[in-house]
């Protein structure tokens, strides 16, 4: 306690060492923070999977399940909740449409009016408006089914960067299945992309997500 000096050593050495170590620490710290900043600035990569430079979504003109021609502008003011699928799909599509249906029920009628669920067919060959009408009615009255020509659907799917491809069944013919992305997209009241819900999102999580985006778009 009483001895503040290192016995036998030059007090200057300790002080010099302390200064050197501190200086080194400062240099390392500056270097590290610069490196970190450089990394962040060069990519502009968001926390989501979507790099900010690529745009998701675009204009469309399709046929709804009542046979009426509709375009994306018809849904301005509401948040479009878009799922790409097909009616021959016995598992994934009913699951996702059920999730959307339950999420809409959790949201309730009032908030539900702000959302427009759209089930867009990536199998327009089999999914006529009549087939779509019967199909979506099984899930929720708010869901609108959309179909169109092969070109219209191809163009729209490309603008959403959503994948779909026919997988010929072993026997071929009319029983083919279609591989497809199972991600659900949420577009804002201005028609622009806001977020996605991955396949497997629970109805509760989707409702909470929808609620959040309804509020931030009010």
């Amino acid at each position: 306690m009483s001895d503040e000096q290192n016995s036998g050593n030059n007090p200057g050495t300790v002080t010099k060492a302390a200064i050197a170590i501190t200086a080194l620490a400062v240099v390392v710290f500056i270097g590290w923070s610069q490196f970190r900043q450089a990394g962040t600035n060069s990519h502009d990569v968001l926390e989501t999977r979507t790099p900010v430079k690529i745009s998701i979504g675009g204009p469309f003109t399709l046929t709804d399940h009542t046979g009426k021609q509709v375009s994306d502008t018809d849904y301005r003011g509401r948040l479009m909740l878009i799922f790409f699928g097909y009616t021959f799909c016995p598992d994934v599509c009913p699951t996702e449409l059920n999730t959307i249906a339950e999420a809409m029920d959790i949201l309730g009628a009032e908030k539900g009016k702000r959302i427009q669920p759209l089930f867009i067919s990536i199998d327009p060959n089999r999914d006529t408006p009549e087939v779509m009408a019967e199909y979506v009615a099984q899930f929720h009255p708010s869901i609108t089914g959309l179909t169109g020509t092969d070109d219209e659907i191809a163009q729209l799917a490309q603008s959403f960067r959503t994948y779909y491809a026919r997988a010929e069944s072993s026997e071929g013919g009319e029983d083919y299945t279609v591989d497809h992305s199972a991600t659900t997209f949420l577009m804002g009241p201005d028609g622009k992309f806001q977020t996605t819900f991955s396949y497997g999102t629970t109805p509760e999580a989707m409702a909470a997500g929808l609620d959040k985006f309804i509020n931030s778009n009010s």
Partner: protein, 157 residues
């Protein structure tokens, strides 16, 4: 006469709702989703419990569609690919296999009958060792996620 009738009815009801057995294989909880009138495809899900040696579900038969196959889903990033299962679905010794949404399932292609919620239909499962097991599949709502739940939403329409 009444007693016989009562017993017969009880036996019938029991046979339709109880799990089905064949050798060491027990199949339970078979359910399917309701289909729209114009629907061409459907799926059934169930649980297989194996109290014996390793076995395989190799085929399925039903008269509600032209083709009945065993399918599974391969999740490739966010892409769902449905494929026919080649070689059957393995049921490990003293283990189980679950056919459920998002995974393995019995696929009906070319539906010849509309699957109506609340109804049932017979399904025969063919195992490599245990042979045939016949079950009754309960039809739930179109978006059902399981066979056991009683869903209030089925009242909606």
């Amino acid at each position: 006469m009444k007693k016989i009738l009562a017993a017969a009815t009880a036996a019938l009801v029991l046979s339709m709702t109880a799990p089905a057995f064949a050798a060491d294989i027990m199949v339970e909880g078979a359910w399917a989703r309701a289909s729209a009138k114009m629907a061409r495809a459907g799926a059934a899900f169930l649980t297989i419990k194996n109290m014996g040696g390793a076995d395989k579900l190799v085929a399925a038969k039903a008269d509600i569609s032209k083709k009945v196959e065993l399918h599974t889903h391969i999740k490739d990033g966010d892409i769902m690919r449905m494929r026919k299962v080649e070689g059957g679905i393995a049921v490990p010794a003293k283990g189980m296999a679950m056919l459920k949404p998002g995974g393995d399932h019995v696929m009906f292609m070319g539906l010849t009958k509309q699957l109506k919620e609340g109804e049932m239909f017979p399904l025969t499962l063919v195992f490599e060792k245990a042979g045939e097991v016949k079950v009754h599949v309960k039809i739930g709502k179109a978006g059902a996620m399981g066979g056991m739940k009683h869903d209030m939403k089925s009242m909606k329409h």
